[in-house]
Symmetry: C2
Amino acid sequence: MTREDALVQLRAPAKTPAAEEIARNLAASIRDGAIAAGKKLPTEQRLSVQYGVSRTVVREAISRLKSDGLVESRQGSGVSVIPASLRRSFKLNGAVLEKQQVLALLELRQPLEMASARLAAVRHTLQELAEIADAQDRMKESEDWSDEGVQADLDFHHAIAKATGNPFYADFMAFLGGALRATILTARSESKNPNIKTITLQEHLKIAQAIEARDPEAAGHAMLLHLQGASLRMTGD
Amino acid sequence: MTREDALVQLRAPAKTPAAEEIARNLAASIRDGAIAAGKKLPTEQRLSVQYGVSRTVVREAISRLKSDGLVESRQGSGVSVIPASLRRSFKLNGAVLEKQQVLALLELRQPLEMASARLAAVRHTLQELAEIADAQDRMKESEDWSDEGVQADLDFHHAIAKATGNPFYADFMAFLGGALRATILTARSESKNPNIKTITLQEHLKIAQAIEARDPEAAGHAMLLHLQGASLRMTGD
DNA sequence: ATTCGCAAATTTGTTAGACAACTTATAAAC
DNA sequence: GTTTATAAGTTGTCTAACAAATTTGCGAAT
């Protein structure tokens, strides 16, 4: 009996709450223009009937849309769609990233990482340099393909972004790193290349040295080589 | 009477809903580590007592946190904080941007715009080229410092991002453009430089020509000159 | 003493109904 | 015709309850 229950749970593990599904549905309608910008959503009453749920659930769904900056509500008036040009939240649609999406995301990351390395070379403080070295050390001591190793890898890049002194770099690189994290993990564990950690550490070292030497061009170049190498290792072997 | 009411409304224009304020409060506690990753939030019951509101309001606040990827809830268990490395939403904290923040955001945008121009030069289709030209035309026909003019300016950059064929470029540049939109508008209207539109159009033309000629280096360089010029015009005169 | 099973207590998910606060449309009064 | 009350419609909030899932604690069987 318990075993069967477990199987059932495995087959249908995540019964997504109604509010989440409705929010996704409405968000899709907004993004593809089915509900134009400036227009009002149906009233909470109508939506609750339409989706066959209580008004509470509809309100929780709309709460999410508000948080995403997709809509805006005014008491007594209604809920209206905010123009795409004013949206203040950038979001990866949560789901798993397909291979092609990962490549596109890496393509977005590359110029940012290069700029990050260049800026860090010019602006870094001693403390930030120590943080970069610390991430490097932790990766050195980590087991191959371990979770800690990948984390230290991401921390290395994040430490550089922080050393730019520009919080947007730090935040956005952390965001991108998190999105790529799962991908990197599986890629590492599936790779047949046994030297992947050693090579990565060497490339990191060159970046760190160029930053320490306050040589932005060398730092950017070393970062480019590292990203190209990492991309090859992820897709290639 | 009506006049006085208007004044009152101006003085206290936005009584922020309780759910929004609580969501902000909790988000702050999470981001600055007051509630560590992996830990559970207080129960909805306790939070409703703590903030002096109903459970409904607390649930709407938590709904927003879920949408932001800050927390995750499991029925029967509780609401737990998601590690920063896994957050899947990048958000500008809604408020108005200070001058320093704008500069930092422009610094983030620059390498992306340059990469965007380079990629667009290599990958653009005829249709995407037409869209770039269209934005350029609309800006030409627009009134100086008008809302349409700024919109056409942003559309020009967005069209280039779309021509990269990489949806993440398109989405993120649209996001950044929206965030900078208000700033650009005020900067334009406050500027004493009467030729600002003409100069911008000339710089845009050089970018468009380099893209059409499929010359990535020239496109990137023209974009750099444009951004540096725009930044100077925004802060300088 | 340890482990297993099971019921009870917790906790989130959902529903229903009600009232308050605000906006908008309507009708009445001037 | 303009302005002013009135009413209707809509979002914001509260209360009370039950459903569904998880966690906890207790007792029994081994």
